[in-house]
């Protein structure tokens, strides 16, 4: 991130840089307020707010995975499993308690979703502690598939199989105020009628969640834990030698990342008012990884921009085209959703070759991915377990 740059420039032109920063942040904040309001007001564009909500949930997901992949350097290809666990836990428990909780159900369910997510993370984290990058990727992938297949097969009679939740006649409760706002806050403007729709309501919640996440992760990055993660990612052996408890730090990374996934999952479920296993395929996991990798591993800004570009742009174009705002032929619309994976696949390859640090990299990560010293690099590939293992082998000889 440019924080480092800001620090070096602090002695000379701190005020100037700060003014520029403030201007940028103010613009972003204004856009975040105005864009959804405009979408909501202009007749026929209201559904775009919905897309913004979904994009926001993907920002949450990407921020969570960024903890695991970006900070701790553990490639997780089954991240969507935590999203699923959080979502299902939230809906199952929420449906059981909604009679008592009423409009507070969603907010209350953030807690079980986070707990279940984190617990799943630890459960997965424990056995894979000593696995190196690529093995870890495969195990997490397998784990993701296990979760999806179990959900799809109605495990323990809980998940209602491929049909999803809630079951037949049941309905999920909207959080309080949402319906009231939709019914009562409406007025006519020159652009069209403004309604404080449920989509707008969710937009506010998702943006708030994103801000909390960003704040928390920034603090985390600067904390002892964040530094330990970076040390571990750069060189596991050296980090251990400096007193970093690899085991604990990896578990923290897994559980915090999984917790974020769980929170994103329950939000997704309540936004959709519905949840089914088809939202949790391997491709979705790959999607999140794409966002983190292309955006810039370990960089909060990169990840957000990545989510906006990768998840947001194609959906927006498609949405605008469907609404008839953009004049596109029907084939082009379906092609956008089809070709984007093709393009992402190529982009991932090209990006790894040309710019492995991503679009908006964190400075540390950039240096790590464009290393100068091959010898150091070779050492970095070793996991702690391997080094110990090799050492003990050598003793035998």
């Amino acid at each position: 991130m440019t924080d480092a740059k800001a620090q070096t420039g602090a002695t000379t032109g701190a005020a100037k840089i700060d003014a520029k920063k403030v201007a940028i942040y103010a613009t972003i904040a204004a856009a975040m307020v105005i864009v959804p309001l405009v979408f909501q007001t202009v007749t026929g564009l209201g559904f775009l707010v919905r897309i913004l909500v979904i994009v926001g949930i993907w920002v949450l997901l990407a921020l969570g995975l960024n903890i695991v992949v970006g900070y701790a350097g553990l490639l997780d290809l089954g991240y969507i499993a935590f999203y699923a666990m959080g979502g299902y836990a939230g809906v199952l428990i929420g449906q059981a308690l909604s009679r008592y909780l009423g409009g507070a159900t969603y907010f209350a369910m953030l807690i079980p979703a986070a707990v279940v997510g984190a617990m799943t993370g630890v459960t997965l984290g424990f056995p894979v502690l000593r696995l190196r990058g690529d093995y870890l990727a495969i195990v997490t992938l397998g784990f993701g598939e296990i979760v999806r297949i179990c959900l799809n097969n109605d495990i323990f009679g809980l998940t209602n199989g491929a049909t999803g939740l809630p079951r037949g006649s049941e309905q999920m409760v909207m959080p309080f105020g949402a319906m009231w706002l939709q019914d009562n806050v409406r007025f006519t403007t020159p652009l069209g009628q403004f309604i404080f729709s449920t989509n707008l309501y969710w937009y506010v919640i998702v943006v708030a969640l994103c801000l909390v996440f960003i704040l928390a992760i920034r603090r985390l990055d600067d904390s002892r834990l964040g530094r330990a993660w970076v040390a571990m990612r750069e060189n596991e052996v050296a980090a251990a030698a400096c007193g970093v408890n690899i085991r604990t730090q990896k578990l923290w990374a897994f559980s915090l990342g999984a917790m974020s996934g769980g929170i994103a999952g329950v939000t997704f479920a309540y936004v959709q008012q519905f949840i089914s296993p088809e939202s949790f395929t391997f491709m979705e996991s790959v999607f999140v990884v794409c966002i983190v990798v292309l955006g810039g591993m370990g960089s909060i800004r990169g990840v957000i921009v990545g989510a906006l570009l990768i998840r947001g742009i194609p959906d927006l174009i498609q949405g605008l085209a469907v609404a008839g705002v953009l004049k596109l032929p029907g084939e082009a619309i379906s092609a956008i959703s089809g070709y984007r994976f093709l393009v992402f696949g190529l982009l991932m390859v090209v990006m790894m070759i040309v710019r492995p640090q991503g679009m908006i990299p964190s400075s540390r990560r950039a240096r790590e991915l464009n290393p100068e010293d091959e010898h150091v690099l070779a050492e970095e590939d070793l996991s702690l377990w391997e080094t110990e293992h090799r050492a003990s082998n050598r003793d035998d000889v």
Binding site: V128, L131, D134, G142, F143, M352, E380
Partner: protein, 330 residues
């Protein structure tokens, strides 16, 4: 579903057939891993591509409708040969396998050249992500440019290969020609590859490269061509498995590679990744375990069981069953 002897036997035969397929695919993972220490994530997609190329060859060589097209008339005599009698049938099969293996092998070489070679000195995560990218690309290319539906795997006259007749029976269990064909071919290819790697000069170069790339280079081994060769052989074997898979199950599908790919990787890990014989052993073991798990525990959860095996092996014996050779090769 009482576990009668014949039921057990049937599962065993199915399992061995499946194991043969897994072993063929697993060899591709293990060859590449042994030399480059990367998981060729795109391998499962190359397996899928093998199925499609094979289907294409089958159609071109046996579908009269294609020969009707202007400029394609030269296919007619060839087609009448391939459609006539046993010799024609065997030749058709041989051509299908050979073309598929060569085309997919070349695809593997190209992928290595452009997606992996520039990343040879990058950190581990980079080639892995690049490989995932290739995998997504291939899958969606087939989805978009060929078909999103299942394509029936048959000759033009509609005779699918699944219906191939019973070769022989053990008690009440029928073993189909296709199953015999798969098991025998995979075993022959496995033995052939093992001999190639352990006996020939090029095989020695491959082993040297996998032990220490730099040292092998200093001894005059052309590292790039050895790696390219590994990227030819692996996908070529994967393509053979892809054609078999299409014939055995009667169809191909753009996402048919994913699950067998992961399972074959599991097989390679079970046997000890980087170890050729391990991959074969792991393939057959996993095939049998999966078949019995599907037959006796639950069909719906048989993929889950295969994944659980993977997780357990990685946790308790990350080196695999025959994985001793890998431990020194860090």
């Amino acid at each position: 579903m009482s576990p009668t002897l014949s039921y057990i036997l049937e599962q065993a035969v199915n399992g061995i057939t499946l194991g043969g397929l897994y072993a063929l695919i697993a060899l591709g993972y293990t060859l590449v891993y042994g030399i480059l220490l990367i998981i060729n994530f795109a391998h499962s997609e190359l397996f899928m591509a093998g199925g499609y190329v094979g289907l294409f060859v089958l159609k071109v060589l046996s579908d009269p409708a294609i020969a009707q097209n202007p400029g394609m008339g030269f296919l007619k005599p060839a087609q009448s040969f391939f459609l006539s009698g046993t010799i024609g049938f065997v030749a058709l099969l041989a051509a299908t396998f050979a073309v598929s293996a060569i085309v997919v092998g070349l695809m593997g070489v190209i992928i290595e050249r452009y997606a992996y070679r520039p990343l040879r000195h990058a950190p581990r995560l980079a080639p892995l992500i690049s490989a995932i990218g290739i995998s997504i690309f291939l899958q969606n290319a087939v989805l978009l440019f060929i078909s999103s539906k299942q394509l029936p795997y048959s000759r033009a006259d509609g005779s699918a290969f699944v219906t191939a007749k019973t070769a022989f029976s053990i008690g009440s269990v029928d073993v189909s020609t296709m199953q015999v064909f798969i098991i025998v071919t995979s075993l022959v290819l496995l033995v052939f590859l093992d001999t190639f790697v352990s006996r020939t000069r090029i095989g020695r170069a491959m082993r040297a490269t996998s032990q220490d790339r730099d040292a092998a280079g200093l001894m005059g081994v052309n590292i790039n061509s050895v790696i390219a060769l590994a990227f030819f052989i692996g996908p070529a074997l994967g393509a053979v498995a892809g054609v078999f898979n299409g014939m055995y199950y009667g169809s191909v599908n753009y996402n048919m590679g994913f699950i067998p790919g992961i399972k074959s990787f599991t097989a390679a890990v079970i046997g000890g990744i980087g170890n050729l014989r391990g991959a074969m052993l792991g393939g057959f073991l996993l095939g049998i375990v999966e078949s019995f798990a599907g037959g006796f525990i639950s069909i719906a959860y048989r993929d889950v069981i295969a994944f659980i095996v993977l997780v357990l092996v990685l946790i308790f014996r990350p080196g695999g069953l025959l994985g001793e050779a890998v431990a020194e090769k860090v």
